[in-house]
Symmetry: C2
Subunit: 322 residues, 2 copies
Amino acid sequence: MKSGTESGVKILALSGGVGGAKLALGLARVLPPGALTVVANTADDFEHLGLYIAPDLDTVMYTLAGINDTERGWGLAGESWQCLDALNRLGAERWFQLGDRDLATHIRRSALLREGQNLSAVTAQLCRALDVTVDLLPMSDDPVRTLVDCEEGELPFQHYFVREQCRPRVRGFRFAGQEQARAQPAFLAMLTDPELTAVIICPSNPFVSVDPILGLPGVREALVASPAPVYAVSPIIGDRALKGPAAKMMAELGLPVSAASVAAHYRGLVDTFVMDESDATLAATINEPGMQIMMAPTVMKSLEDRERLAQQLLDRLQDCRP
Amino acid sequence: MKSGTESGVKILALSGGVGGAKLALGLARVLPPGALTVVANTADDFEHLGLYIAPDLDTVMYTLAGINDTERGWGLAGESWQCLDALNRLGAERWFQLGDRDLATHIRRSALLREGQNLSAVTAQLCRALDVTVDLLPMSDDPVRTLVDCEEGELPFQHYFVREQCRPRVRGFRFAGQEQARAQPAFLAMLTDPELTAVIICPSNPFVSVDPILGLPGVREALVASPAPVYAVSPIIGDRALKGPAAKMMAELGLPVSAASVAAHYRGLVDTFVMDESDATLAATINEPGMQIMMAPTVMKSLEDRERLAQQLLDRLQDCRP
């Protein structure tokens, strides 16, 4: 393939954290330079110990930089925990794990934000420093914060996710600030670009990773209006989520725990729904209007898995081109 | 000796960083509990990478907690540098060394200050967490910032001291904010307490560590008015400073580089000037009105050295009591 700008290939991937980052990395490795833009959820962002922390943005950035910890599944490889130990001794809240090298990202980002740069500019600067050549954008430069509606009341996302380890029963979600937030300008421009090749919704949690992005003013409308095909990869295989609380949330929301519920969630928005090959029986039963089903190996354990899934998506895109 | 409150012993020590912290530790070890209050210079404080850093306060705190690096002379023992490495990769200014465990202090302090606590309250909280039982006070809760007047112009203290490694030629000093700042209330209360046993000016830099404290509104006046004797230990022995740029500054200010210049600097303020035993010849020539000379071993290499000097000061105090 020629380079992104030469080839005219323009892929927009929407991602949450770990699962989405895997596919983003696969796409980055099989696409020509300049062809991929990744928009990451920032509704998980929060302030902790006075630092601005952007978990999904960092997971994608670290993964694209090749410095993420693939065994633990989050944070940086070869991480140490000296500062956190000392913070604990000083009486700081200890529920959120911050490695020494990871802390540098939060310290640097927080300082640049306080100097008046917006999150997009700071992200671009951090990515350059880490030799990430993919365009990585926060979904918005404005604050949007996921609140998890539980029986105990509303919990900020990281309190639910990390501090409470997803134990509370979920009744719904609210994305504070979403209606006032503006989608990141380059993101919105891509969505309305007639040259856009495709949008790929990565296998991220539909409720807390993808919905915050889709619900930004103008995004859903632009996706529906765009001539570019919209793909979504299911984060649910069989009755399990590969990572995180998506399956548990589904059950608590009264939905069948299966990729079929994800397909229904994306009804009217997604043109091609990508399911794992092991879900063939279920796939035959899904009948969402205007939605095609594509079967692919969606479990991404190795780097080869990530590249293979990315390549199959691109091959399908090429086959379906007018 | 009985405990501080029982014995009625109340010692107030004024300190900068490393040299002052050594004597503060010696005093802490030979005095009964509750008898010592240390007031540290905060005119070296600065904001770096978005964090509030208080070098002298931390040096004293770490020294009193027994967790300072005695070989390197600053920072924490057993320190690691993972976060700093990562910060450097992210393009952060790299001239100020911040260890992983040290960073915890700055992160925690910065967060508590942003929550609205004052520096005294934050210092007390950090000291409690580190099991420091001596009362350690910042000289003020208001910002005072040392500016070093050099041929190149005015430099903030840490830029002069760390970034430029004291290379620029010094013409003078300015303590921005000093006139508006209020001396820490408990510090000022001690100065005017008729029960105060003595004030000990630690062997710190007279220009940039002690003068910022002495020049706070009301401090010099209270020191002069206090019936308590004021001791000062010379940071200059022979023609050298044991630590830091005091000797170089003296030379550049056109002063003879010797303890005699320190004595002259404290004229009218100090009752007993403590010089190193090796300076006996010089001592015989010093004749400051109202100032007695005390000879003592002031080089504090070992813990025993620190305790011995502290004990000699206390013995002298006891001998001179009415």
